[in-house]
């Protein structure tokens, strides 16, 4: 029997149930919404074009459920965050988000089209009627324009040319678009305007999604920051150009952060407070401190070295499912590149002191360029973990240096029986994951997380 066959027979980890359950819930809740449209009589006695009108309403309901699922995903509520993981979240977001907007367009096309036909006017004239007859439909129409702008800004070709901050700002407009679209659902559509079960169902969806967003993205981070008195305790420049920042807060350990996780950090200082950025913990949290290590790669990360001790900090988290407790077996291979070394270093430190085999692979252009390499080296030797440092320029393909194109299987002969944790730039991490799959590591034992949305 091959080792992958053994691994494949292991039971499905709990978090996969959760992640699938979340996606399933989106579809089932959509189905309930559609059922309310039907039970309200949208299709009853419908003839000819009325069918398209009713279909347009069904599509609008699905679009809204997909949209609210997005809001729930970005709320980073613990019941989402602990189960789904960022790569899965991103995939779900991209897929459902795009469909939400496409379905909105279909909704408007069908409903306005049939109305136009009934009234014997033109499509544009009907859209114009919104502004004189129903402010909530006029608002919804403006909301759709906002959503189309968001969709356009997220197209690959546009996104590649824009600064992340510009794209993100446009993306935040979805809240404006949603606010514009809500009134017509409760005031015009026949399904959710009468105050009955459907009305309550629809209200609860909104309250749950936006409630989660407000509680977990706004209220809780502010409360935690105030209660623990989170502030910058020290700022240390590292020889490779990175900066380590220690954030102190009384009893910060009570947040339950695990080595490998990250927070979204907001520093309350001029020039910083507008932006929150994800940085992984670069050492195991202790009673009162958290440490992050930031490599200058953009405008914000280059400036963090200027932060003054005492600066107030607002942190959203702990976030992410990249931590040691996700492993399914005992043996580990930790693979890091660039600043991706931070969670790997923290995880290595937090591992239980047992005889489980651990290999650490650090990929860098040159050893002096690798942040925290001295710390990793010290912890690895203490723990008895094997450290492989692969320095050198990258090749045309593959994740190893061009000069020494090794594979995971060559470095760690029994890799197929281990859990592989990968952290580094996206394309590089994908290459490592592909190599792991090649070496026979089952997909669920390859752990990788993406930070950016």
């Amino acid at each position: 029997m091959t080792s992958s066959a053994v691994a494949a027979r292991e039971r499905t980890p709990r978090h996969e149930w959760w992640a699938d359950g979340l996606e399933a819930a989106v579809y089932l809740v959509s189905a309930v919404g559609v059922a309310f449209v039907l039970s309200g009589g949208a299709f009853t006695g419908a003839s000819g074009l009325d069918w398209f009108y009713a279909l347009g309403r069904v599509v609008g309901v699905i679009a809204t459920v997909f949209l609210l699922a997005q809001v729930l995903l970005v709320s980073r509520a613990p019941y989402i965050e602990r189960s789904v993981g960022h790569d899965r979240t991103v995939a779900l977001h991209t897929r459902l988000g795009k469909w939400a907007i496409i379905l909105m367009v279909v909704h408007v096309f069908f409903v306005v089209g049939v109305t136009t036909n009934h009234d014997g006017t033109t499509f544009v004239a009907t859209l114009g009627m919104f502004f004189t007859q129903a402010w909530y439909l006029a608002a919804a129409q403006l909301g759709l324009l906002v959503f189309l702008a968001v969709l356009a800004s997220s197209l690959v070709i546009v996104r590649r040319r824009w600064r992340y901050e510009s794209w993100h700002t446009v993306h935040l407009l979805v809240y404006v678009g949603t606010a514009f679209a809500v009134p017509h659902q409760f005031l015009f559509g026949g399904t959710f305007s009468p105050k009955g079960a459907a009305w309550w169902f629809w209200l609860v969806l909104y309250v749950f999604a936006f409630g989660s967003l407000l509680v977990f993205r706004v209220a809780r981070p502010l409360w935690v920051a105030a209660r623990l008195g989170l502030h910058v305790a020290s700022v240390e420049a590292l020889p490779d150009g990175s900066t380590s920042i220690v954030v102190r807060g009384k009893g910060v350990q009570s947040l339950g952060a695990r080595a490998g996780q990250f927070f979204l950090w907001r520093f309350v200082a001029p020039g910083f407070w507008r932006e929150a950025h994800p940085f992984s913990l670069s050492r195991t949290p202790d009673a009162d401190t958290l440490r992050i290590t930031v490599k200058p790669s953009g405008d914000f990360s280059s400036r963090v070295a200027l932060l003054k001790p005492g600066t107030r900090v607002i942190a959203e988290g702990p976030l992410g499912v990249f931590h040691g407790e996700r492993r399914l077996g005992r043996g580990l291979v930790l693979v890091a590149a660039g600043i991706g070394i931070t969670p790997i270093r923290a995880m290595l430190e937090a591992l239980p002191q047992d005889d489980a085999p651990v290999d650490v692979i650090v990929r860098c252009s040159s050893e002096p360029d690798a942040p925290l390499l001295d710390e990793v080296r010290a912890i690895a030797s203490e723990r008895g973990a094997r450290l492989h440092v692969l320095a050198g320029a990258r090749g045309e393909s593959g994740w190893a240096p061009a000069a020494t194109p090794v594979t995971l299987a060559q470095l760690v002969p029994d890799v197929s029986r281990r859990d592989v944790f990968i952290c580094g730039p996206r394309l590089w991490a994908l290459a490592v994951a592909a190599d792991a799959a090649e070496a026979g590591v089952p997909q669920r034992r390859v752990h990788r997380e993406e930070f950016a949305w």
Binding site: A35, L38, F43, G45, D119
Partner: protein, 151 residues
């Protein structure tokens, strides 16, 4: 998602939608007395149901208002006048054939009929729950009253 789970989700969603479908109300048959025959008199004073001369004592005459369209369909009122008195109010067209439209208008149009007959005026209160029917039907009623020379 695994294929087996996906199938489960599809089945469950289908079952939920089926429950909604089976809970849908029966179609309301459009009340034949509600809508007048649109082929009959088109504009007030034009064709007349009775052969008698306009305004002849005891003669009934029908007057149609203009069709008024809004987002919920088209509405056209008809009043029947005898000896300067409105004796009947009908809808030539009211909304669409969709269930919710028929449901609203099957209540709203008879309500308007009662109010107009009582007030002998087009200027009646809107019917609650018929926020699209009301302004359109009242506008058409006004046209019908003007055509009948009753304003």
């Amino acid at each position: 998602m695994k294929a087996s789970r996906r199938a489960g989700v599809v089945l469950a969603s289908g079952a939920i939608v089926a429950v909604g479908w089976s809970a849908a109300p029966e179609a309301i048959p459009v009340d034949p007395t509600l809508s007048a025959d649109p082929q009959a008199p088109s504009q007030g004073g034009g064709a007349q149901p009775d052969a008698g001369p306009s305004g002849a004592p005891g003669a009934e005459q029908a007057f149609d208002g203009p069709p008024v369209s809004n987002l919920r369909g088209t509405y056209q009122a008809r009043i029947v006048v005898r000896d300067g008195e409105v004796v009947d109010v009908q809808a030539v067209v009211a909304g669409t054939s969709a269930y919710e439209s028929v449901a609203v208008n099957s209540v709203a149009i008879p309500e308007f009929r009662e109010r107009v007959l009582k007030a002998q005026s087009w200027d009646v209160d809107a019917v609650s729950g018929a926020s699209y029917t009301s302004p359109a039907f009242i506008e058409s009623l006004r046209g019908a009253f003007e055509a009948a020379g009753l304003e």
